[in-house]
Symmetry: C2
Subunit: 386 residues, 2 copies
Amino acid sequence: MRRAVSIFGATGSIGQNTVDLLRRQGGAGAYDVKVLSGARNVALLAEQARELQADLVVTADETRLADLRAALQGSGIAAAAGAQALREAAEIPVDWAMSAIVGAAGLAPTLAMARAAKTLALANKESLVCAGELLQATCAENGCRLLPVDSEHSAIFQALQGGDGAISRILLTASGGPFRDWTREQMQGATLAQAVAHPNWDMGQRISIDSATMFNKALEVIEARQLFGDTRIEVIVHPQSIIHSMVEFADGAILAQLGAPDMRGAIGFALNWPERQDLPVERLDFAALSRLDFHAPDEGRFPALRLAKQVLAAGGLSGAVFNGAKEAALDRFIAGDIGFLDMAALVEKTLESLHVEASSASSLDGLAAVLDMDARAREIGMAWSA
Amino acid sequence: MRRAVSIFGATGSIGQNTVDLLRRQGGAGAYDVKVLSGARNVALLAEQARELQADLVVTADETRLADLRAALQGSGIAAAAGAQALREAAEIPVDWAMSAIVGAAGLAPTLAMARAAKTLALANKESLVCAGELLQATCAENGCRLLPVDSEHSAIFQALQGGDGAISRILLTASGGPFRDWTREQMQGATLAQAVAHPNWDMGQRISIDSATMFNKALEVIEARQLFGDTRIEVIVHPQSIIHSMVEFADGAILAQLGAPDMRGAIGFALNWPERQDLPVERLDFAALSRLDFHAPDEGRFPALRLAKQVLAAGGLSGAVFNGAKEAALDRFIAGDIGFLDMAALVEKTLESLHVEASSASSLDGLAAVLDMDARAREIGMAWSA
């Protein structure tokens, strides 16, 4: 019997790689594709849907529905658009769902997937950062297995597969991004093009900039806390991105997961778990690699890491504030409105402004409370001035 | 209830570390120590026995029995000596037995432990190299769980704990020993003192020399085949000995076990398995480590690695020939009778001499056949001249 699957965020970097793996593992012959969702790139979305013989295609952008319908002409594939349609599509029961929508926009569909999917492959880290308790509770109530797709969290999950839970420390590796060795002065003048040029990973624009600020790593620290509990989490800069993360156990032994920097590793692991299948990922050649480097992260140049610790300490909805402010900062940097280092200053100020309310709230109050906190953080972030 | 344990080879490097861990984990209050065995160092053996309140102490060296008895005076601890006493002591049922006798002398007691212990912690790699099939069959027949204590094989075992068995490759790390960067000409003139000075691990004399020739790694390649089946095994030189070994799975993902180069890591893992307990082992600091290096091994300067492949290809009792010849070579190098590089030449010649008989035999023919092949290899090795 074909496995029922859906991909939300199918046209992004994670989504395209997921489609690639489905194709290589038998495509429509092996998978009963229920839903593919995307945003503005409806041409690609329609092409994916035709190839995988999807039942339903949803674009988040209502202005693109007519073009999507036109692109699907004659295929018999249903099309829909908008946030409400997206949530409803995410409620369709499947064996496996990929949540790869970027940003807090993925929150509502991801919670819907947690109710409707047997296994939820989670690339949308914002769901855990903004509403970790709510998402975990929703998964638990509905018997949904949550599998992380971030390469770091997939690495930790893999290292813990045979473990007894006696973790003493999580070591989250970070490439350090394109500005790893830049001075603070150089970083202040960093352009959008420079921030987008990630040395190791081929990713979308927003996550690439988040790598340059290390906001991405900061989100991952919060994500790791939500996934793996109240354990010590350390960030270590490892420029080559070969060790994807590590777990230290009570006896001092460390298990690390390594691989080529290729998202298909983590996606394929989540797709095939608990089995492992051959993946189109380069095999490591240690003699050719020659060396792996490590150094401590510099919280002076990368304040996002320091802010992540504040968020963990504050708890409650601080993650939603952190992420909302970060998205506002990102929008403003991309728009050319603020400088590179201003992004962290904006987020820090927003966290201060909402500290009392955020730390006393909880995502278990419901999605509306989370989205409200997110909106307030964005508003403060958009109004911030240096 | 106290756990019944025995340690064979208690006064060697592995044995002393095992005693140290028993002491730290409650000593005689937590463990019902049945047997401690050693060889010439009966003073230490008696001291260990008194502290751990052992029932029986055995020295392999019959000439030391009187001294052992004297050292145990008034303790009420029984003493015995010789190979026969050692085998009988190894037949005493225990929950956990450590086999840490060095060399092929450990073969008979290890097989006895496999019949009498619920868990066999195996540091005596020669048992697997010379008689892997026989040892595995004996364990299987008697419901004995075999846990490797070599840091490399412990690492692989740990990496496989959560696995589904779809291994594509084992990457056995090697420090490269003290002569890692020496030329062949320098190695030809290497002295005993130089060969014993291992850069990372604090080990006994014989295994330190085996590290310098990489015969130790060659034995480990054969050991890995016996423990983990017919998988591709590659040796990669990693001077810092932080990554203790790695496993690559079908999907290209690699799980590695890392830790400080301290044998108590692997011993403690085997002692506490399937749980993990705090161990007196240094925790890794990656920023301080700064880098991990790798390069391909040079089979020209380290022919032992090439010979290991021949042994795997030939099968049968080739491992026994390999080990017996290696022990003869080691004896002769320690005695100042042959040069450093002569050791590999001697082993290669011996493997050639016994190739036909060894490859058509099997350790399942019984211990006598193994010991006979071992003796013949030693004889040829002792008679070899350059």
